[in-house]
């Protein structure tokens, strides 16, 4: 009896050690490469080549100045901000409108519509390069920011509708009914009852949408060609040519390109996590 409880304790100690080893390993795996990249971006090229693990002798902030001047990243950041913000605003406006219709009213084809929107999440959009290219060129929107705004607004529709519908469905009927009694019509109820009450859901959808737009590469690559409309993600592809062997400045440019994502994550972490949990599971 004594022996078996000793064994049991041994097993649980080993289990605990394994558990912590595993959790910490994944922690380091997620973080260390980024820290390494950031530290490398503050070294000289010679230091970087000679000793990849050391801290920089003196912190080379000049790499960041070089990154900004050589890569033209400021312009790309501006383009990315314009495109991402516009596509996010349009997307949440359009999807909160459709979410209002499908979540608060019964009509023929409602279920079918909701199923259709959800199924959109699973469509492998990367495979649709030929049709997207033809569509955007025919609309004469190739190589324009407007073209990308349109594409990005559209590709986020399934996930945003999904998240927003879930939130709107949970608003009690009574609130809307009392607004009807007060004489509020369809549009007034949307604007002054439903929209304010589903703000959390809309912010969640918007956060996802912004990150999707900011990080999108495939269609930026396919649908634009001139530097004037180039987004940050597209810029990263050209860094290897622009900086050639100036690795440290290139890393500085990559760090700069990541910063907005990190800021968005820091600010909206709770929204992101609650969006994933409410949206994806309870479909």
């Amino acid at each position: 009896m004594v022996k078996s409880s000793k064994n049991f304790r041994l097993i649980s100690v080993i289990g605990s050690i394994l558990k912590w080893f595993f959790l910490i390993f994944l922690f380091v795996y997620a973080l260390f490469p980024l820290i390494w990249l950031t530290i490398s971006s503050l070294k000289t090229n010679a230091e970087f080549m000679a000793s990849p693990f050391s801290l920089p002798e003196t912190w080379q902030w000049g790499n960041y100045v070089k990154a900004l001047t050589v890569s033209g990243i400021a312009r790309m950041m501006f383009n990315s901000v314009v495109i991402s913000v516009a596509a996010t605003l349009l997307n949440v406006l359009i999807t909160s409108m459709s979410a209002y219709a499908v979540s608060r009213f019964e009509f023929k084809g409602n279920n079918l519509l909701q199923m259709m929107f959800s199924a959109g999440v699973l469509v492998p959009l990367n495979a649709l390069m030929v049709p997207y290219f033809i569509l955007i060129t025919r609309l004469k929107l190739d190589n324009t920011m407007l073209g990308l705004i349109l594409v990005y607004t559209a590709i986020g529709i399934p996930i945003s509708t999904f998240i927003t519908t879930g939130f709107m469905r949970s608003i009690p009927r009574e609130l809307e009914e009392s607004a009807v009694i007060d004489g509020a019509n369809f549009y007034v109820r949307f604007k002054s009852v439903i929209l304010p009450l589903s703000r959390t859901g809309i912010v969640t959808a918007g956060t996802f949408q912004f990150l999707t737009c900011w990080n999108e590469f495939v269609y930026a690559n396919l649908l634009t060609s001139s530097p004037e409309v180039r987004t940050v993600q597209l810029g990263i592809r050209y860094f290897t040519n622009q900086f050639s062997t100036d690795y440290v400045s290139m890393y500085a440019a990559i760090v700069i390109s990541i910063v907005p994502s990190i800021i968005a994550y820091m600010l909206f972490q709770n929204q992101i996590i609650s969006g994933l949990t409410s949206g994806a599971v309870k479909g």
Partner: protein
């Protein structure tokens, strides 16, 4: 609440932009790509109908068959290795060990960074001359294992394939929420029966979190077959087309103005994706949407 006539007009107006964009960017492209796949078309000239010639052509192309195989391997690794790891971590964190919130935050962190930035970062890690990976191997006395990771036939695909497997944050968060939602009563009953935590996880948590796990497997496997950025950035399909994937293939065909074969590859991709979704839902239950 009754739907009035005014409501009906409002519903139609409010649905219009969303549905129109959905039709234009989700439904129409799928039909269109299927149509183009039956033609020979450079994008400039008039398309001519060629039946299933494009499909015969791409299936005879070893680069395409290699791409399909790579994508299937990728999907299997994503569904059956990445997601189980995510489920394991979700269960471990559900016991709320010290610092679980910080772990969750950090695990999710790589998911907010773009695929192209991560790929560039990993290009630096795999680099033969100054890369982090070779540096670590030398540091721990395993310099015999150092190599040109992305340039060698044997190591190129595993390198491109495997670095993201441990980025589990997205799926972990989804499964974690499902695990959190399981009623305490089940565990209390099991506790009385003397079941260990391990047994509880195996017989209570896993079956009850099945819905979210199957959802994650579906999403992960779809990710696996639509990969592009990583391969494009790290190897562009090389060495010797060893790391090619379907999207890269259809992209290259398109750049070569062979819209027909490019579209045929897209149809095959969509078909494989549908098979995965149907297969998973048939075998593992229908709790997913």
């Amino acid at each position: 609440m009754k739907t009035t006539k005014q409501d009906k007009v409002g519903i139609a107006l409010f649905l219009l932009p969303g549905v129109a964009l959905f039709l234009a960017f989700f439904i129409f492209p799928v039909i269109y790509v299927a149509g183009v796949s039956l033609t020979e078309w450079t994008g400039f000239t008039k398309a001519s109908f060629v039946g299933i010639d494009n499909y015969i052509k791409i299936f005879k192309d070893p680069v395409f068959t290699r791409s399909i195989i790579n994508n299937i391997v990728w999907a299997l690794v994503a569904g059956f290795i990445q997601v189980p790891i995510a489920a394991l971590v979700a269960i471990l964190l559900s016991f709320k060990p010290k610092g679980w919130k910080m772990f969750r935050t950090v695990y999710f962190f790589p998911q907010v960074i773009s695929g192209i930035a991560l790929a560039t970062l990993w290009a630096a890690i795999f680099n033969a001359e100054y890369g982090l990976l070779n540096g670590i191997l030398e540091l721990v006395g395993l310099s015999g294992l150092t190599r040109n990771w992305l340039g060698t036939l044997e190591s190129a695909f595993p390198s491109v394939l495997l670095y993201w497997v441990l980025y589990i944050g997205y799926f972990m968060v989804i499964i974690f929420a499902d695990v959190q939602g399981i009623s305490e009563e089940y565990y209390e009953a099991a506790e009385i029966d003397g079941a260990s935590r391990f047994m509880q996880s195996l017989y209570i948590t896993l079956p009850l979190a099945k819905g979210s796990i199957v959802t994650c497997m579906t999403l992960a496997m779809i990710n696996g077959i639509r990969q592009f950025e990583q391969v494009y950035m790290l190897t562009n399909g090389g060495p010797g087309n060893r790391t090619s994937v379907m999207v890269l293939y259809l992209y290259k065909e398109m750049q070569a103005f062979s819209y027909g074969t490019s579209s045929a590859a897209a149809v095959v991709l969509i078909f494989v994706g549908s098979l995965i979704i149907l297969g998973l839902n048939k075998t593992l239950g229908k709790e997913t949407h």
